[in-house]
């Protein structure tokens, strides 16, 4: 089937296809409404052909979305395997509400892995794959007792969750061309933030000096995880100073807490690299 035939097929369900393809921006933005009109099985083909038409080569926006989703999938594999191992390690988690909470979080991370695998496949790309053997959760010895000391385990969990929140936030712009994918990523992003909040409360209950939100660039853990928190101390947003804004009593701490900050992909990769075997 050549490209013209594909376009002809699309035209049967979307008479405006030619109009949609008249510019790169138009093609990018139109996919969201377009996807509802085409049979699910046809979407990867339709999408691919649209962007081939718009970009001339099979790179560009679709490749960026595939790459971004595989990056997200990689992070979810780290988290899922971490909680699978933790919840499955006898004697690590004390009896009580922590068992239920960590099981819930484990199940969410597994669900995220499965969701992203399906999404990537449906876009016609190949999902990355990792197994338990792919990871070293001691981070080359930095957290040697991660699966024998509950406080270490929770500290690493906090770092993964807070990093995940920052990572998704940093990638959202790369998904703007596909409304469905962007919304799904945002719906994962806020779940990671809910996890982070709860893990931080669990640590607080065990004596750690943390709140459900991130104050300044405080880790509440130590220098080993500082890169995951650097930049969170920002108190200016879009050139607006949040401290004492409009005569209010908003402190520097509150100003930094009120906005979570992004991490770039490169920063995230640097943070998680020690956790790969």
């Amino acid at each position: 089937m050549n490209l013209q035939n594909i376009i002809n097929e699309i035209e049967k369900v979307d008479p405006e296809v030619y109009q949609r393809l008249d510019g790169r921006r138009g093609a990018m933005k139109s996919f969201a409404s377009f996807s509802g009109k085409v049979a699910m099985a046809a979407i990867p083909i339709a999408l691919g052909s649209m962007f081939k038409k718009a970009y001339g080569k099979g790179t560009g926006v679709t490749a960026l979305i595939d790459e971004t989703l595989n990056f997200a999938l990689t992070l979810e594999y780290i988290e899922a395997n971490f909680y699978i191992k933790g919840v499955g390690t006898a004697g690590l988690i004390p009896a009580g509400p922590g068992v239920g909470a960590l099981t819930t979080i484990r199940d969410h991370e597994n669900a995220h892995v499965n969701f992203l695998k399906t999404a990537i496949t449906s876009l016609g790309a190949t999902p990355v794959s990792f197994t338990a053997a792919s990871f070293d959760f001691t981070a080359k010895g930095a957290f040697a007792d991660v699966f024998s000391n509950y406080d270490t385990f929770l500290a690493v969990a906090q770092t993964f969750e807070d990093t995940g929140v920052r990572a998704y936030k940093g990638q959202a712009g790369n998904l703007m061309a596909n409304n469905d994918v962007l919304t799904a990523a945002l719906n994962i992003h806020s779940v990671e933030a809910r996890h982070a909040s709860h893990i931080r409360q669990m640590r607080k209950a065990r004596g750690a000096s943390v709140k459900p939100w991130i104050t300044g660039k405080e880790t509440g853990i130590g220098p080993a995880v500082q890169p995951a928190y650097n930049g969170e101390e920002l108190t200016t947003q879009a050139n607006v100073n949040i401290v004492g804004i409009n005569g209010t009593a908003v402190s520097a701490s509150a100003a930094s807490e009120a906005f979570d900050e992004i991490l770039t992909k490169e920063q995230v990769v640097a943070i998680v690299t020690p956790f790969f075997a």
Binding site: D22, A111, F115, A193, Q237, A238
Partner: protein, 233 residues
């Protein structure tokens, strides 16, 4: 009487009838960054006081930012009111963290007000009469409603935003709202931070369209809000 509001597309009207292919993103791209917000905001400024249609949030990214500003007004006013006479037996820990949340919401509200400048909607008249502020249960139930609703509102609004910088800003706020939501939920019932009433079997949080959010919030807002010019995709 209803006022006709200038939308981005109106501003961008060009001869030749190719309006449909010229998106808001193009428009913002032409103007570039923050200046686009100011120009578009000026174009959307309107008389809100003599309008049967209610306060118009406006169109395009400005409309979405006003939508967020409206929600933050509700949250900030709610948490401020809690501290006018805190419920009985509020613990020091609760008081400290609910105070943090109040300050975060005030920061969000004032940020939007400042960023929108002349394009900002006015201060909304709110109605919290359904909340018993002397009751911990009533206060926390309302807080849970507001925080979960806020998370779903930002999640649903992301796709409607055209400027990537504003998408990041919304992202910076929504995760803090989610942290609040989880904390409030755990105060009500420890372990409910992400239960199946908000997170589905695929591990996804809720997202809601502006119309649904505003309907759910309407009992707390006396001022009529007109969201009819907001983008829909």
């Amino acid at each position: 009487m209803p006022t006709k509001n200038l939308s981005d597309k109106d501003v961008l009207a060009v001869p030749g009838g190719r309006i449909q292919s010229l998106s808001r993103r193009n428009f913002l791209g032409y103007l570039g960054g923050a200046s686009a917000l100011l120009v578009t905001a000026a174009a959307c400024k309107k008389d809100d006081n003599n309008n049967d249609m209610g306060v118009d949030l406006g169109s395009g990214d400005v409309g979405i930012l006003n939508y967020a500003y409206a929600l933050e007004q509700i949250e900030a006013a709610f948490y401020t009111k809690i501290f006018e006479s805190p419920y009985a037996n509020i613990t020091p820990a609760e008081s400290a963290l609910l105070g943090d949340i109040r300050d975060h919401e005030i920061a969000h509200r004032e940020f939007f007000k400042t960023a929108l400048a002349g394009g900002a909607i006015p201060t909304l008249e709110l109605d919290f009469s359904s909340i018993n502020f002397s009751s911990r249960d009533s206060v926390l139930a309302a807080a849970k409603t507001f925080e979960d609703l806020g998370v779903s509102a930002y999640n649903g609004a992301g796709k409607l935003i055209m400027n990537p910088d504003y998408l990041v800003l919304a992202g910076k706020i929504v995760s803090v709202e989610a942290r609040h939501a989880a904390y409030i939920r755990d105060l009500i019932s420890n372990g409910s931070f992400a239960d199946n009433t908000v997170v589905d079997a695929m591990g996804l949080d809720k997202s809601r369209e502006p119309s649904e959010v505003l309907t759910m919030a309407s009992s707390f807002v006396k001022t009529k809000i007109n969201a009819s010019n907001l983008p829909t995709s």
